[in-house]
């Protein structure tokens, strides 16, 4: 590694609850992101998220410690309930969060018109991966940062950042959408609930399991999406990571993607050199201990890079945490192109 000074990467960590927010900040997060306890954010699972009061208190607590709070308002407003998204945007501004992360044109236009002082980040749910799309959101709504779709290689990110005027944030750890984010209706096709609208992919009430002949079959609204030997632990049962038959193949296979989890720690320096401003850990639905551990490992790795050292010693720290127990550097290495 050369002795050049890398720009410091901002470490953005998940806060699925007030307790997780504290754990992430104490473990070294520069920023945390969270959502309200309703369908206005893309991790609308039971037992997660914040009330407006909790958000206000948590934001004050974070600010006292020099940490930023980003509020994910990143689902698309249901046509008959746009007031809920509008009220959430107002509540976020009132809590003095450091940025609102949004994807819906309705939310973006409301924020830029009514809360021009609140910073806007473009959610990965907007799937904006070209300079043109990013320019659109930057000019029309004053978006200051774009969370990059998880389909770009490091080289593509380098090229992209040279063509845009806003900051970029890249996912470096956790679950991966296989499909273009925010443009996937697989879950609603089976279950009737749209992840884009309700913030839930594979809604828990639609998931069922049945055991037969030593195997466990996972179903979403009746459709069998995977079958594993009893006792083997799979990841959260999303359709894109299920096994199917097609194209004359008699054996069921992982049609879209093997069940792997992103770990791009080894690419942090490359992402920094490619012009990325912030790196993001996925996993608001995971536990507090998980978030503390991942945050601490990435804090150490980023600090090492900042000192011009290798993050190598920290890379093996998290291997046992990966969903489905296998890790990938995802599109960043782009072996599948």
């Amino acid at each position: 590694m050369s002795d050049m000074i890398f720009p410091v990467l901002e470490l953005v960590c998940p806060a699925g609850s007030p307790a997780m927010l504290k754990a992430a900040i104490e473990a070294g997060a520069d920023s945390v992101y969270c959502g309200f306890r309703d369908e206005t954010n893309a991790r609308n699972f039971p037992g997660l998220n914040f009330s407006p009061e909790e958000l206000r208190a948590a934001t004050d607590w974070a600010h006292e410690r020099g940490t930023r709070v980003l509020l994910a308002l990143n689902t698309f407003a249901r046509a008959d309930a746009t007031d809920l998204w509008r009220a959430s945007a107002d509540a976020a501004a009132e809590a003095r969060v450091d940025a609102v992360i949004a994807a819906d044109l309705a939310v973006l236009s409301h924020m830029s018109a009514n809360h021009p002082d609140t910073r806007l980040h473009l959610s990965v749910q907007a799937a904006a991966g070209t300079p043109e799309a990013i320019a659109f959101y930057a000019r029309e709504y004053g978006v200051k940062r774009v969370v990059l779709p998880r389909v770009l290689s490091v080289e593509e990110i380098r090229s992209l950042t040279s063509e845009i005027t806003v900051e970029t944030e890249a996912f470096v750890y956790g679950g991966l959408c296989v499909m273009a984010e925010g443009r996937c209706a697989l879950s609603s096709y089976a279950s009737g609930r749209s992840p884009n609208l309700s913030g839930v992919c594979s809604p828990p009430e639609a998931v069922s399991f049945s055991d037969d002949h030593g195997e466990r079959t996972t179903r979403l609204s009746g459709f069998a999406i995977d079958r594993l030997p009893a006792g083997e632990v799979g990841g959260y049962p999303t359709l894109c990571k299920g096994r199917f038959r097609g194209g004359g193949f008699r054996e069921a296979a992982y049609l879209f993607e093997d069940p792997v989890s992103l770990n791009a720690m080894s690419l942090l320096a490359g992402l920094a050199r490619a012009g990325v401003t912030a790196v993001k850990i996925e996993g608001r639905q995971r536990g507090r201990a998980y978030v503390a551990r991942v945050t601490a490992a990435f804090r150490a790795a980023i600090d090492a890079i900042g000192r011009g050292e290798s993050p190598g010693p920290y890379e093996a720290l998290l291997g046992d945490l990966a969903e489905g127990a296998r890790e990938t550097t995802g599109a960043y290495g782009k072996r599948w192109r």
Binding site: F76, A77, R78, A79, D80, T82, A103, D104, L105, A106, S109, A126, A127, A128, G129, T130, P131, E132, A133, A135, F136, E140, V151, E156, V178, M179, A180, G182, R183, C184, A185, L186, S188, Y189, A190, S191, G192, L197, T217, S221, G222, F223, A224, I225, D226, R227, C240, R243, F244, R245, G246, G247, F249, A252, L255, F256, E257, A331, W336, R337
Partner: protein, 310 residues
């Protein structure tokens, strides 16, 4: 130029962009028949799924456009749903810059390159509510093909709030459900996308995908995942008009699309009801069982509010 649609009166038919990798001769024959025989006002042309297919179709589609326009159809050029390579971005920008023709924007890149010139917002633009639709109207959108997940009630909300906006409904064909930058079809064949041998050309309606238990479920078309079921609107014309819908999109499949468009013509002109439309479409050999759940706010795989179509 756009065909005009009288408010509250006529219902127009449109042929959506061809989603599948058909051989050039098949594409040419298809559009020749549409030009000569199909009672549709609008035909969307252009490769929207995979940039690798586009070069093989360029000349064929240019000839198709001439023939369609000669037959009095309005041609609208559709842009990529997921442009990524510099070439795909350039092609989308070129289409957007051609203000002699209307375009259908497949993503926000095309909107950016196009505005403030008029454009059609495609079904993959994630417009779920009236304020979002109003934003696109402000930027030049004259027609919106509703996102396939939207129930008719939401379409009605959008129509009410955006009186000048034409609303198009995905009325026939396998539903485009998801996009990936990774090709599942190449993956299934053990190939990389960059050396994919264009295996998607083996499946003119997409490659059927069934569950581990053999239940029909999805269809893969290169980078795109479609429903196995075939969307067919199952509400009457009056209800569609009351919701503000003025255009019905028929998505090309390998069955006889001229016959499909004639049946839809009978439907929109009141000669047959939705039940008979479903019976007759069913007898033409649609690519999967008929589905319509999304229109009713339930799972897309269902027919009406009933069970999953099998």
């Amino acid at each position: 130029m756009m065909a005009s649609i009288e408010s509250g009166g006529l219902m127009e038919l449109a042929i959506g962009p061809l989603l599948f990798n058909w051989a050039a001769e098949r594409v040419e024959t298809f559009y020749a028949r549409i030009a000569d025989e199909a009672p549709v006002g609008t035909v969307y042309l252009g490769e929207v799924v995979c940039g690798k297919r586009q070069p093989m179709l360029q000349d064929v589609l240019a000839r198709a456009a001439e023939r369609l326009e000669g037959a009095g159809k309005t041609v609208i050029w559709s842009t990529f749903a997921l442009p990524s390579t510099p070439r795909e971005r350039r092609l989308a920008a070129e289409l957007a810059a051609d203000t002699d023709h209307l375009i259908e924007a497949g993503d926000m890149s095309a909107v950016w390159s196009r505005m403030p010139a008029p454009f059609v917002a495609g079904p993959l633009l994630n417009v779920y509510n009236a304020p979002a639709a109003a934003e696109l109207v402000r930027l030049g959108c004259v027609r919106l093909c509703a996102n396939v997940e939207l129930p008719l009630t939401s379409i009605a909300e959008i129509a009410q709030a955006c009186p000048g906006l034409q609303l198009e409904l995905f009325a026939f064909g396998r539903l485009p459900l998801a996009l990936s930058s990774r090709c599942a079809q190449a993956r299934m064949e053990g190939l990389h996308r960059d050396a994919c041998r264009y295996v998607c050309d083996r499946h003119p309606d997409g490659m059927d995908v069934s569950t581990i238990e053999g239940q029909d479920f999805l269809a893969v078309n290169g980078l795109q995942t479609l429903s196995h079921g075939c969307q067919l609107i199952d509400v009457e014309v009056e209800a569609l008009k009351a919701a503000g819908v003025s255009i019905l999109r028929l998505s090309p499949h390998s069955l006889d699309m001229v016959s499909v468009s004639h049946l839809f013509c009978d439907f929109v002109e009141g000669r047959i009801k939705s039940r008979e439309l479903a019976l007759r479409i069913g007898s033409l050999g649609p690519p999967g069982p008929l589905i319509s759940g999304y229109l009713h706010g339930v799972a897309g795989a269902r027919w009406g509010t009933g069970g999953v179509a099998v």
